[in-house]
């Protein structure tokens, strides 16, 4: 494919997607992001403010997800490069089942080792921490919205309410256990 056809596959890698997304995110934060974080007014103020926050929660998750995908993509490419380097000389000539097994072994070993090295890196650790944190924020937000906008109006029990009951139950059980233990001690003293 020539450049005159309008396509240049060599330049179309994942990094450009990442760069585009970073630019988009910066633009979003400077424009729409500011708009959605604007204080709400009027009777539906509380609800609309909470709902607007969902946009930034999702944008953060999406950004963290893209960062992680981008890094995984790079690791996969690196692993594939190593596999190619190791197997290229042996793949010349007739391909036999033995060669296929060797290829499989090299592939699994190289991918496994490359990924293990990557998973020990500070890059991976901070990425996973960030992704997990954004995912939890997003899930917590979704649950709040579900509770406030669907479950409560339908007069259905919410997770928050069930947790309150569980906490009370835990506390009561603990008290009963302590009292039982005290009764046992007193009985033994008698």
């Amino acid at each position: 494919m020539s450049e005159s056809d309008g396509l240049n596959m060599e330049k179309s890698n994942f990094e450009s997607t990442q760069e585009f997304f970073d630019q988009w995110l910066n633009t979003y934060k400077a424009t729409m992001g500011k708009l959605v974080e604007m204080p709400s007014v009027g009777p539906a103020r509380e609800k609309s403010e909470k709902m607007m926050k969902g946009f930034s929660t999702f944008a953060n998750l999406y950004a963290a997800g893209l960062d992680t995908s981008s890094n995984f993509q790079t690791v996969f490419m690196e692993a594939m490069r190593k596999v190619q380097e190791k197997t290229a000389p042996d793949m010349k000539g007739e391909i036999s089942p033995e060669k296929y097994k060797e290829f499989y072994n090299t592939w699994i070993e190289t991918y496994s080792e490359t990924f293990k090295d990557f998973s020990k890196s500070g890059h991976f650790v901070s990425d996973m921490g960030k992704l997990n944190s954004c995912l939890m924020d997003f899930q917590i937000y979704n649950r709040q919205m579900l509770e406030e906008n669907y479950l409560k109006p339908m007069n259905l029990p919410t997770k928050t309410e069930i947790d309150e009951i569980n906490k009370e139950l835990y506390s009561l059980k603990k008290t009963v256990k302590e009292l039982k233990s005290q009764i046992k001690e007193l009985k033994e003293k008698k």
Partner: protein
Amino acid sequence: MNGLNLIEDFDKIKYGMELFLKPPEFSVGTTPSEIIYTEDKMKLLHYIPTVEKPHQVPILIVYALVNRYYILDLQPDKSVIKKLLEEGFDVYVIDWGYPSGADRYLTLDDYVNGYINNAVDNIKERSGLDKITLLGVCQGGTFSVMYAAQHPENVQNLVTLVAPVDFDTDKGILNLWAKSLDVDKIVDFYGIVPGDFLNSGFLLLDPFRLMIDKYVGMFDRIECKPDDTTCQIRNEEYVKNFLRMEKWIFDSPDQAGETFRQFMKDCYQKNLLIKNEMKLNGTKINLKNITMPLLNVMAEFDHLVPNDSSKPLSNAVSSTDKETLVFPTGHIGIFVGSKSQKEVCPKISAWLKPRSLLNGKAEEKTASANIELPEPAKEKKIEQKRKNRRSKVNKK
């Protein structure tokens, strides 16, 4: 020749698929036991002794909250519990069960000073003894260390198996990952932290081996000798054992949120235990309170609990009678690998036997001197209790 190899490979897949279409029945944790105490989801199991007169001090095995205790009794020919029974020990194990929403507020203190302490009290009462041997495995080993430090008067011997105590190491991937986790958000969202969430983390440690190569390897080990009954039995046995392990790996109970929160933050993130700064219900855990004999067992190639995380225990305690054993195996291999039955269990037994006697009397010494000592009244009472229990179990 090449063609033959190809046919053999296809045959392996074919035989493997045939075996999976008619899966062999398998079971786990088959060593006979009775439930002697329950509290909430926790059960205390007592294994039926296989010798007439077990060693006097019973063993309580404390397993981790992650996965299930039956890895120690996965298959009859690879059972740590069965081996300990055969070696003449009286064995108990805590089954933590499967926590549900109602258990989300259970704390580390509830596990250590509640459940473990009540299990110990129960065994003390049944055996008529003041102290027992505590054998803690993995996270259960960390719990056992905490318990032994807070209740040294109840522990005759402490055995830790692949147990982490010093979490500030970069040798383990879990140690690295845990530092960046926002534990509060995880617990606040889930409440009860799903076992699958933790399992996905374990799979990420080596995804290509654990999600692809393991299954390819399984088919690769299938033998293809048509009309060979011995070979078919071998295949079936292999698949059974594979399925047993597969069941154990993915049988992951959810975690009580508050316990997970404290364990991750105080141990993995702040490393308070080894610094004697960790608290349970406001009381500091001082590892120097551990004065009883200590056996610290590790697996050289442990990818989950690196040796650097277990070794420091020996220097952190006050025990004078202490020993460290390192076996050339992995975190799971130490329970089910070939070395487990041949080396690990016999060495633990050999260490425990002379320390599992009342008043420090050495059974072996007495036996070798061929002198019959008069049994103290206390021992007779204990023996009578055991006989009564055995007859009750037999009646059941």
